[in-house]
Amino acid sequence: MNPPGTFGKLVPLETLPAGARATVRTLGAADDHALLGLTGLGLLPGARIEVLRRRPVFCIRLDGACYAIDLDLARNILVETDAAAPAPHQPVRRRWRWRSGRNDKHAV
């Protein structure tokens, strides 16, 4: 489920919960290599993605395929979330999720 009030705003991909759907707007990868890697996967402005899981790394669905990207990359991708949509598996998954503040500590 998308956080309330985020519809239409640009947020880092990193902040999205599992189950959220969004459209990529901006890629600000740290270097050429990373940027070319992402565009090579088809992760371009306008691409529609869905967050499958956030841990151990970000897993996203893009064009029917599933990709894993690390948090550093996810932090630099700005997305626009869809209008709030129900996410059926949310309550079950919540118990197993780590606190969201821990991302930064684990970033390498």
């Binding site: 890629l27 070319l36 990709y67 059926p88």
Partner: protein
């Protein structure tokens, strides 16, 4: 050298030449399956990106003509980022094949077409194959290949390579002449289009298809840039200017919403232009496919990638591997084959046969003496190494085909990141447990030279190959403490080296960016076939080494030099508290790791070593010397200087660790 991309081929192919058909496509799209379906020849097929890191060939009969089919490593884009991608691109541009078969998974048509566009821009004779049609129809979709073919202007064919569907039609297409493709009408940003139009003549002088060369130059491709620097430095400069102005918005200064960093503008807008073209074409060709299919709800990934559950599964997998390879393989199977089949039946038979048939003591000892070809080469390879390595490959094959390995990489990414490696490095590292030589090649799939270096360093030093692992488990299994000490020291060496290398080696930070292929049930038939091929190849690779080592040792013995060499190695053995006989297994280890392992197994079974010496010898053998076979691969992949550095490091670390361990254990009175 051939120049191409111009309307007519400048160098006509010689009349007798075999038609060359290259299979090209993204990673893990089924190129190798298609290769097998076309030619009937098996190449390694797995369920993860990066299985094929070398070009492999097989011949194919097409009606009257003979053709050669070439399987290539997967590429995401013409702008190569990894070594395996460069292998493919170099191959395509330097020796353009007569037909380029682009394999695209039908469910990801739009994504795949972006690479089709690049192959067409390079003026290559492209045929598009839509593979995995079954997965598309399972998702409720279908594709109109006729419409696609007329839109693209190239032959298109649908297949299910794993079941052989669509192969007859593909053979028909391949039997005919395929003309070079015309660049597709992609609308690039004005600055990019201007650059390509204005400099077409100068780009042609780079010796590459001009349009492809121009776009690669704008994407800062190091190979093409280097070529431009030497041929036409001005061109390189205007490419740099175009790169900064590639964004069509805001007069190209501040960049648009999508590429607010000017440095990325070219990559993003070239990608967007290709994407728009591909989406348009895919939308017209796809029928009845839900645009945004819902993901499966309860998936095994919830467990496999769970922060706790995932590691429990990993522990279970490793334990199963240990039980099958170490306990069953190295323990029971080796005991039975070596102690029963060889010692009681084969060896006496062969020995008496040699004695009656072969004249001369020298020749007889070459065959069945202590260091003879039969005694060392054949017995070691068949009785000790093959059961262990074979069982390892069997288990590894199951892991590969299930799609578990990329998930393992994701699971351990954060841990590996501290060692300067991305999660993708987990696959070559585990492959290193089989044989370091093949694993060294597999590092081509890693994204940077830095990661490749760290991975091979860890493999050379602290990753025991299956043969070593099996022998260590066999000789130490009677004492859990000894096993724990050995594992602890090796792990310490692994972590210490990784942490130090991760901090000191220059290069970009590790990144994880990988596809997670769907989980599939491995097919027993396929696993059996793959393992059999791997064991066959392994035997073919090791037997000559073993035999050569036997001949050299035999020669040394007859000339009396062996004593000298062993005497020279004695101080090394003494340094780590090993008896003099141990210098022999050290010598064996120089030839091949597994040979040394088998030698140690022999030595230990004679009871010449006490517990402390066993542990020290096990540690020394695990850490010690990348064997001759690996040295050659290392030199080919990384150059002489780097290889020398790795060898020196491994040598010093191995003896230092073993010496310290020996002193430490001795201090505790063991």
């Amino acid at each position: 050298m051939s120049t191409h991309g111009t309307p007519a081929p400048i160098v006509p192919p010689p009349a007798v030449a075999v038609r060359r058909i290259a299979l090209v496509g993204g990673p893990n799209v089924g190129k190798s399956s298609l290769f097998a379906a076309l030619t009937g020849q098996y190449v390694m097929v797995s369920n993860y990106p990066g299985t094929t890191v070398e070009v492999s060939r097989a011949s194919l009969r097409l009606g009257e003509t003979e053709a050669e089919v070439i399987d290539t490593p997967g590429i995401e884009s013409f702008r190569a980022l990894r070594e395996e991608e460069r292998v493919t691109r170099r191959f395509l541009l330097d020796h353009p094949p007569d037909v380029v078969v682009h394999v695209v998974p039908a469910p990801q048509l739009a994504h795949g077409l972006a690479l089709t566009a690049q192959l067409m821009e390079a003026g290559l004779p492209v045929v598009l194959v839509l593979n995995m049609l079954d997965e598309l129809s399972a998702a409720g979709g279908s594709v109109d290949t006729e419409a696609l073919a007329s839109r693209l202007g190239i032959p298109v064919c649908g297949t299910v390579a794993t079941r052989g569907e669509g192969i007859p039609r593909l053979r028909e297409i391949l039997a005919k002449e395929v003309p070079p493709a015309v660049p597709p009408p992609i609308v690039y940003p004005p600055a990019v289009a201007d650059f390509l139009a204005t400099h077409a003549d100068r780009l042609a002088r780079l010796g590459l298809p001009p349009r492809a060369a121009g776009l690669l130059l704008l994407l800062s491709d190091p190979d093409v840039r280097a070529r431009a620097e030497t041929v036409d430095a001005g061109l390189s400069k205007s490419a740099a200017a175009t790169r900064d102005a590639a964004c069509p918005g805001d007069a190209g200064t501040a960049g648009c919403h999508g590429c607010f960093l000017a440095s990325g503008a070219a990559a993003i807008h070239i990608g967007l232009a290709r994407r728009a073209w591909a989406t348009d074409i895919a939308a017209a060709a796809l029928r009845g496919k839900p645009a945004d299919a819902a993901p499966p709800r309860a998936s095994a990934d919830d467990l496999l990638l769970h922060p706790l559950g995932g590691f429990l599964v990993l522990a279970a997998v490793l334990y199963a591997l240990f039980a099958v390879v170490g306990v069953f393989g190295a323990g029971m199977v080796v005991d039975w084959i070596e102690g029963h089949v060889f010692a009681e039946h084969l060896t006496p038979g062969v020995t008496s046969l040699v004695e009656t048939l072969v004249p001369g003591a020298a020749l007889r000892s070459l065959l069945t003496g202590t260091n003879g070809i039969w005694t060392l080469a054949v017995t070691y390879a068949v009785a000790i190494i093959v059961p262990v390595v074979g069982l390892f490959y069997l288990c590894f094959g199951i892991l590969e085909d299930s799609g578990y390995l990329p998930r393992l990489g994701v699971l351990v990414h954060r841990f590996l990141a501290r060692l300067g490696l991305g999660g993708q490095a987990a696959i070559p590292l585990i492959l290193g447990l089989g044989c370091v030589t093949t694993a060294t090649l597999a590092t081509r799939a890693l994204p940077s030279r830095r990661e490749r270096l760290i991975a091979v360093l860890l493999m050379s030093l602290a990753t025991p190959c299956a043969a070593q692992l099996g022998v260590v488990l066999a000789i130490l299994s009677f004492s859990p403490w000894a096993l724990a000490v050995w594992a602890g020291v090796v792990l310490l060496a692994f972590l210490g080296t990784g942490l130090a290398a991760g901090r000191t080696l220059p290069g970009p930070p590790p990144r994880l960016m990988t596809e997670l292929p769907p989980l599939r049930w491995p097919s027993p038939r396929h696993i059996a076939r793959k393992s059999a091929m791997r064991i066959g190849r392994y035997l073919l690779e090791v037997l000559p080494y073993f035999a050569a080592a036997s001949v050299i040792l035999w020669g040394l013995e007859w000339t009396g030099l062996l004593v000298g060499v062993e005497t020279a190695l004695r101080p090394l053995a003494r340094l780590v508290g090993l008896p003099e006989e141990a210098s022999r297994f050290l010598l064996f280890g120089f030839f091949r790791r597994d040979y040394g392992a088998a030698g140690l197994y022999d030595l230990a079974s004679t009871g010449a070593l006490n517990l402390r010496q066993l542990v020290v010898a096990a540690v020394l053998m695990t850490l010690f010397i990348p064997c001759l076979a690996q040295l050659m691969v290392l030199r080919k992949e990384f150059g002489t200087r780097t290889t020398a550095g790795i060898v020196a490091f491994v040598f010093v670390t191995a003896f230092a660790a073993a010496g310290l361990l020996n002193a430490g254990l001795a201090a505790y009175g063991l």
